[in-house]
């Protein structure tokens, strides 16, 4: 090999290194376009926690199960249900009302008016409005009218529990969702159902 050839080879090697050094360093440098997804689809930003697809699947299953329960399906009249916030015993902080809201809305739309939900979470506003009516400040009220707020026939509530493990092999989370329909008069559990989801995954080596 002549001297000129050596120099050419070295120059090419240095140029290649320089180009390699200039390589992009961006995470997904072009970015990701906003993608509209269905709530029951698994997104590309995923963890082993409680996600929207779990919420949809669990709420739909519970709503169907409640509708099939004899106390609701064969009820005389329209039973009133109050939602009691669920208890979160998992390792995932969640909006505790979202499951019951999803179940309530599903029941309201699919039950064809078979059940009535009582807005106990709006009692402050309801009492204020009732007081305005009873004092004659707004129309529609009668002074000293008896209490008209309905009592609940059933209380719908639930609990989220989990078993979580983490090791150098990855993370695993099992979440058990249980929901109950309670009789507030007798404390009897009239209906109960559950759903369970297990997820596991492992982050890239640079995060371990």
């Amino acid at each position: 090999m002549t001297r000129a050839n050596y120099l050419t080879v070295i120059a090419a090697a240095l140029l290649a290194l320089f180009v390699a050094g200039c390589g992009t360093t961006g995470l997904n440098p072009q970015g990701a376009n906003v993608t509209e997804m269905k709530a029951d689809e698994r997104g590309f930003v995923a963890g082993t926690g409680i996600e929207s697809q779990d919420l949809v699947a669990v709420a739909d299953k519970m709503a169907r199960s409640i509708l099939a329960t004899p106390q609701i399906a064969n009820a005389q009249g329209k039973p009133s249900i109050v939602l009691e916030p669920i208890v979160n015993e998992t390792r995932f902080p969640i909006n505790k009302e979202i499951f019951l809201t999803r179940i309530r809305v599903t029941l309201s739309t699919k039950a064809g008016g078979k059940v009535i939900f009582l807005a106990r979470d709006r009692m402050d506003a309801l009492e204020k409005e009732r007081d305005l009516k009873q004092t004659g400040k707004v129309t529609g009220g009668t002074p000293n009218a008896p209490v008209e707020f309905k009592g609940a026939d059933f209380i719908l509530t639930g609990k989220l529990q989990s078993i979580s493990t983490r090791s150098n092999k990855g993370s695993s989370d099992y979440v058990l969702y249980t929901f109950q329909l309670l009789d507030p008069r007798t404390s009897a559990i009239l209906w109960e159902d559950f759903a369970e989801i297990k997820k596991q995954g492992q982050s890239d080596a640079v995060y371990r």
């Binding site: 995470l27 902080p93 982050s203 890239d204 371990r208």
Partner: protein, 381 residues
């Protein structure tokens, strides 16, 4: 002469016109949270979580809980996700990539602290079960320590997990037992289910990362420090002395190494022979360039040396030393039972010998609301 003066004048004018523009230094306000938010918006995407952590803690200590909540909520979905390979992680792993190219989420003790502070805010917001969820997540993050003796060994996280469970009428005794085992003492107080004022305390300055080894490839820590080891709290007639539950330097340094450390060590191992070639080959080449019969071999050797040096210089073995640098060294906790209404608390910070450090003492007022726990964070710094 006049012409000369005129030319000189024009020249001076032209020179004046070309003078560099003098920019005023950016005006910084005394509002550390707002200044922090500017730093977050100016930070590279890969560093935003780091800045959010830092500013969230500044906001929390300043009593700006809404801002702290929002900043932590912007971090935790990423911290809690399964972070799979992408272009940036592949780069961080490659010979020519720096570990600090990856999106910062922090080492496990830093991630755990993000959950810890978010839990504190959940509790403050009247959601103790979500606070407990944060403590559980924080403890789990510490669960994959190589040395199992130090896995999930935050004392305060177990203690609070059990405390919330007890307050929600569950059985927190297992967690209390675990906390006492981790603390290696039975001095941790029993749970008071009726306690309604939760005082979180933090002392000192937390650990800082640095790169050890020849190429900075070993993630190491400068231990944090704190003159304060305990605090004496006085609310009305009630007084309580609180010892530190946890030491963050201990948490940072007892995990027993990361998988990434092996990758960085491999990079360092590759750099060593390249450095040797880069040093020796050109010198030998120069020697060989003298005699006519060896001159042919000189140029390739010099070239190989230059190439090896270039490759070695391009190889990045440095560990990621980005640090959540305003974390404390120690964490502590106390719970009180108080009637609703205004109260004042006097905090005396104590050194290792139990002597008060008067310069750090402070008195605060707070309101206890009925039907909800009152949660405070008090820092000596």
């Amino acid at each position: 002469m006049n012409k000369v003066c005129q030319l000189a004048g024009v020249a001076l004018l032209a020179a004046g016109c070309a003078a560099p523009e003098i920019k005023k230094a950016p005006v910084a306000s005394n509002d550390l949270v707002e200044e922090g938010k500017k730093l977050i918006s100016g930070a590279a995407e890969k560093d935003k979580i780091l800045w959010r952590y830092r500013v969230a803690l500044v906001a929390l200590k300043a009593g700006r809980f809404d801002e702290a909540r929002q900043l932590l909520d912007e971090c935790l979905p990423t911290v809690g996700a399964i972070l799979t390979a992408d272009e940036r992680t592949l780069k961080a792993r490659s010979l020519f990539g720096n570990e600090a190219h990856k999106i910062y989420v922090g080492e496990p003790y830093e991630q755990a602290m993000a959950y810890f502070y978010r839990g504190l805010i959940y509790w403050m917001d009247g959601e103790p079960d979500n606070a407990r969820a944060c403590y559980k997540s924080a403890q789990l993050i510490d669960g994959d320590a190589k040395d199992k003796a130090f896995a999930s060994d935050f004392v305060l996280l177990d203690y609070l997990d059990g405390f919330v469970t007890a307050k929600l009428l569950g059985d927190g005794s297992d967690m209390l037992r675990r906390a006492r085992v981790s603390a290696k003492t039975n001095a941790l107080p029993d749970y008071d289910r009726v306690a309604n004022v939760m005082v979180f305390l933090q002392f000192g300055f937390g650990p800082l990362k640095h790169g050890g080894g020849k190429y900075g490839e070993r993630l190491q820590y400068h231990a944090g420090h704190s003159a304060v080891r305990a605090a004496s709290l006085k609310i009305g007639e009630q007084t309580m002395q609180v010892q530190a539950f946890d030491d963050l330097s201990f948490q940072a340094t007892t995990r027993g190494g990361r998988l990434m450390d092996d990758i960085l060590a491999d990079k360092g191992t590759l750099k060593k022979p390249l450095d040797a070639i880069a040093t020796v080959a050109p010198a030998v080449g120069v020697v060989l360039a003298g005699p006519k019969e060896t001159r042919g071999a000189a140029l390739p050797l010099i070239g190989a040396g230059i190439a090896a040096g270039a490759i070695s210089n391009s190889a990045e073995a440095m560990a990621d030393t980005r640090t959540w640098n305003n974390l404390p060294q120690h964490l502590a906790f106390a719970a009180f039972r108080l009637p609703p209404g205004p109260h004042s608390i006097t905090v005396e910070f104590l050194d290792g010998a139990g002597k008060p450090l008067p310069k750090l003492s402070r008195a605060l007022t707070f309101d206890v609301r009925a039907g909800r726990d009152t949660v405070m964070l008090i820092a000596d710094q």
